[in-house]
């Protein structure tokens, strides 16, 4: 049976892309292998050793705590931070986009707080508030600002003729808000969520390192480093990368789905 590549066939294209991804990752692993041999240092374990460490972490956990428990601890914290940011940033952003005077009042405060790197808050929140809520608040900060600015932007970007159209159809201020501004901001909200999730995931891993009695993957990887368990450390890096890819692709999928539903593509 002969195979002919057809660039107009969806499955052929997907197959081609998958092949490229496999080749790209293979090249990456080979390069890593070469570097680990050349460096001849325990700090850079070979892919094989890392793979063994990954399997043993997933099977036996670390320090008597299962892998699932570390991962779910991080994900729970992440989800809590996200939810808090979502319930605060979305309504606030919609209101700030809608009301000019309120926006003028709040903007200076936001502009002072926004440039502070979320990680700068980590010691403040974790040592100052608590080991439990601290990392969650760092994630919250990481997601809150990108989300808020996207929501405000979304409300401001609204097509003025949609507002005119709604007004000539008899819209009150309340209707303008619920029937026009909020729905037209949704794609921007989704974009904010996507950006926010990316930043938030970086925050959680770093924030957990400050926590001396935590459970998350960030805590786990820093403890492995301190103990010189390099293959395990690298195995954790892989887990963190995988979880990061998972959250961003989920957000991307959601964004595409919602944009399509909202009639903007």
């Amino acid at each position: 049976m002969s195979f002919k590549y057809d660039k107009n066939n969806k499955y052929h294209r997907l197959g081609k892309n998958a092949l490229i991804v496999v080749v790209s990752l293979t090249v990456f692993v080979l390069a890593w292998w070469v570097v680990s041999i050349l460096a001849h240092s325990t700090v850079i374990p070979t892919p094989i050793k890392t793979f063994d460490a990954l399997i043993s972490f997933l099977q036996d956990g670390y320090l008597g705590i299962s892998a699932g428990r570390y991962i779910s601890a991080s994900l729970t914290l992440f989800l809590k931070g996200f939810l808090l940011a979502f319930v605060l940033a979305v309504p606030l952003g919609l209101i700030l986009g809608f009301s000019k005077s309120l926006n003028t009042f709040v903007t200076p405060i936001i502009e002072v707080l926004r440039p502070i790197a979320p990680m700068a808050w980590a010691p403040v929140f974790i040592y100052g508030i608590s080991y439990d809520t601290g990392p969650m608040l760092v994630v919250f900060i990481g997601i809150f600002f990108p989300l808020l600015t996207n929501v405000i932007f979304g409300v401001k970007k609204i097509d003025p003729s949609l507002v005119d159209a709604a007004l000539t159809l008899g819209a009150s201020k309340f209707h303008l808000f619920t029937k026009v501004m909020a729905p037209s901001a949704i794609p921007y909200i989704m974009n904010g969520i996507k950006v926010g999730l990316g930043v938030g995931w970086m925050c959680i891993v770093a924030a957990e390192m400050y926590n001396p009695r935590g459970f998350g993957v960030g805590y786990c990887i820093s403890d492995m480093c301190f103990n010189g368990l390099w293959p395990s450390t690298f195995a954790m890096l892989i887990i963190i990368a995988a979880l990061g890819i998972l959250t961003t692709s989920l957000a991307e999928y959601l964004q595409k789905y919602v944009s399509k539903r909202m009639g903007v593509e």
Binding site: T168, L169, R261
Partner: protein, 274 residues
Amino acid sequence: MFDGSNKEQTSDKGSVSYAEGEDFIHIENLSKIYKRDDSETVAIEDFSINIKKGELISIVGPSGCGKTTILRMIAGLLEPTSGTITVAGHPCDKPGPDRGMVFQDFALMPWRSVIKNVELGMEMAGVPKEERRKRAEEYISIVGLEKFKDARINELSGGMKQRVGIARALVNHPDVLLMDEPFGALDAQTRNLMQAGLIKILDKTDQTIIFITHSVDEAVYLSDRIVVLTKRPAKIKEIIEIPWPRPRDRASPDFTALRKHILDELEKENVLDD
């Protein structure tokens, strides 16, 4: 396109009812001056006209002369600097569904289906769901989009989008339909089809329409009267009555002569028509 039957429309509000041909819209000494810092731009100066019920009035004028400004003031989207506008006896100080507007860029909500767009005005007015649906379906069939009532807006062609825009305005039984270069974004062929469709609506109802266009051809084809404006500040240069029945023959000598006359007048205003 635009088929289906449509009963005589009645205004939802207003205690006085107007018969076709009666003076219905009064615009008196309308002016609009835009003030910015210390400079003033006079957009409209001393614009007065009475429009009869069931009339189609088009307003033509050099580009940027303020045609849209007049329409937006009637819609209540813009406040006049001086002068008064009444439609069916009501002053036009704020926008409302009694003055339906059709926009050049369609201005449809892309997150709503065709029928949901048509229902929007009734939804905000608190019309019960059943009745909303029924009325929306009726007007969707008038503009010939029955098959597309559940379609998304981005699945429609430009002409179809504008038919949704027209249905969305008409479904609220407006006293006047304000059309702001409604076919300006469409290709020539679709444009002609839309004009023919609009004429069908005119035949079946006594809908009063104010129509802004920069196409003289379109104005002569559709209008009962054409208001020719001067360049900025816009004043009425001439009002031309066209008593011919519709549909009109674009190739007839009368048609081309009138078209030429208006184009000449506009050219005197120093601006070229399309």
